[in-house]
């Protein structure tokens, strides 16, 4: 277990470095000098040259890359062109908001998704099943921005129940979290249903019933824990899906999070900021999937003893 964990950790770091390289190269194949783009057409050549040298942009690409990596390890991701602050500082304050948003959304997705999935499986092919599965497929097919705008329109504008945007009060997180978690909830519900129905066909379910367990006892003590294993592996998807969705949700609800920072970085053609945010997002996804693996091995004794 320890061995495979270290192996996975090394792998994760390698993938992460690959990601940095990919972002790095992609952002630098953009034609034109970013400093010129930033300062506009009227900047005098001397200033542009001075700033280019200051940022190290006149160096060959691989030197730039190693410089970036080594300072990144020290927690220095450069200075934002457009906002003039250190990238790490900007991301730090935005990350809190994104984290709260993502956690609430994940909470919603898991509670609603697992709940609906269980009810669907228990009432297989009857009305509640059809209803919940209809909802979940809607959830999967509904683009995040539509969910966000729909909620904003109904609960914020028409009913005035909840704030339309901003996070000055904690209630401001409710609508964005639901909008963001909606899609994941649909996926979790479908996955839970399938996994639970499969598990209920297993022989040890018969054993539990033969022991005299009640249907609810069988469900809670024997079926659920086994069924949750594949659902758990979906946590990885949750992370990357939620981060993708956060970009949009934060834009619609004007939340100062990492996703919105990324959109700002793109519109400001701000390479250090874009690099930093993309790196952070990918790191979260990679280590999230690592965490899911660890969790899985804790819950499944068959995996625990191997490796």
């Amino acid at each position: 277990m320890k061995k495979s964990l270290i192996h996975r950790l090394v792998q994760a770091v390698i993938v992460l470095i690959g990601v940095v390289l990919l972002i790095f190269v992609m952002l630098r194949i953009v034609p034109g000098n970013p400093i010129e783009t930033m300062m506009g057409e009227h900047a005098d050549a001397a200033t542009v040259a001075r700033m280019t040298a200051e940022m190290g942009l006149d160096q060959p690409l691989h030197i730039q890359f190693f410089r970036y990596i080594s300072s990144a390890f020290r927690g220095d991701f450069g200075t934002s062109y457009s906002l003039g602050k250190p990238v790490s500082q900007l991301i730090g304050s935005a990350f809190v908001n994104t984290l709260i948003l993502a956690l609430f959304a994940a909470l919603f997705a898991w509670v609603a998704g697992i709940g609906c999935g269980i009810l669907s499986a228990v009432h297989k092919n009857r009305l509640p099943d059809r209803l919940f599965m209809g909802f979940s497929i809607l959830g999967i097919s509904l683009p995040v921005f539509m969910a966000a705008m729909f909620l904003q329109y109904i609960f914020g504008f028409c009913l005035h129940w909840l704030p339309i945007s901003g996070t000055e009060r904690w209630t401001g997180f409710i609508l964005p979290s639901i909008a963001l978690g909606w899609n994941s909830a649909g996926q979790v519900a479908q996955m839970t249903r399938t996994a639970l129905l499969e598990t209920l066909q297993e022989d040890y379910i018969d054993t539990a019933r033969a022991k005299g367990r009640s249907p609810s006892g069988v469900l809670v003590h024997h079926a659920l824990r086994n069924a949750m294993l594949p659902v758990l592996t979906m946590m990885t998807i949750q992370f990357s899906g939620l981060l993708s969705g956060a970009v949009i949700t934060e834009t619609v609800f004007s939340i100062n999070g990492v996703g919105r920072l990324m959109v700002q970085a793109i519109s400001g053609r701000d390479i250090p900021l874009l690099q930093g945010t993309a790196l952070l997002a990918t790191a979260v996804v990679i280590f999230g999937s690592l965490l899911a693996d660890v969790l899985y091995s804790v819950l499944d004794p068959r995996v625990r003893k191997e490796g």
Binding site: E202, D203, Y204, D206, T207, A208, R209, A210, K211, G212, R213, S214, G217, H221, H222, R225, N226, L229, L299, D300, P301, R302, K305
Partner: protein, 324 residues
Amino acid sequence: MNEMTLEVSGLTVCYPTEKGAIFPVKDVSLKVPAGSIVGIVGESGCGKSMTARAVMGLLRSPGKVTAGKVFLCGREITALPEKERRKLRGNEMSMIFQEPMTSLNPVMKVGKQVEEAIRLHTDCSREEAKRRTLELFREVEIPEAETRLSCYPHQLSGGLRQRVMIAMAMVCRPRLLIADEPTTALDVTVEAQILKLLEHLRDAGTSVLMISHNLGVIARVCDEVYVMYAGRVVEQASTERLFEQPLHPYSRGLFRSVRSLREGCETLETIPGVVPNLLRLPQGCSFSLRCPECGEKCEKTMPELLETEPGHAVRCFRAEGGEE
């Protein structure tokens, strides 16, 4: 004198399918006297496992018992509400299954799974349950019982898992143990040990209903045997009698194929054909399509299960004496 632990009469199980209802178990009656091991034998798909499940009340939906009665120690149990039946399961009647590999919950320690059964039917404390589990593990001869308690199923061999299953079934000293092909998945030496264990249980007061397609297993431990074919009992006799003088052509076919195997004959004798599709049973005797002695009457009407001698019943016109 002989008290019946289990008495099944006219049991019928119906499964509605898209192409019409099928009856995997049709009008089955059998008796398990106290302190005996009774076997049900037949090819796969003949309804023996389904009979066992119906007795336990563990039919998978949409299967349903549509007729018949089941008496456990003289008490009718099919009409009991589900809650009452649940109290019987694992308490007065238990069941062990064919696949010890998949019959235990993979994410639960085996000790815990046995404790669970104890605590479901008694009010004892956790420590008490644990102590009882250890006793049971020793009783079913699990070596190093103490360390095995905290093992997960995948860490045990097939034989050990089946012992755990038996321990779990025995927690409340049930009157009846249904063993559904308990040794099929095990190798021969382990099989012998498990069979010996079942005999011990019988001597300790638990009657056993044993389901198997393996005539060797049946011959070794059973006192009475029922032969099933296409959902019905076709022959019933004491083990000795059935092995000496099988009357139904199907039973005879079964024994012939075993004998030809054992004696190493050049050609393996088999029963021609396959178990019929339950949706398309012949009009008369279910076995008529494969029967070497099939007559005109056999194709038209289903024979009754009749006693030819006390303790030996058969469902065949030929065996009734009349050579129609």
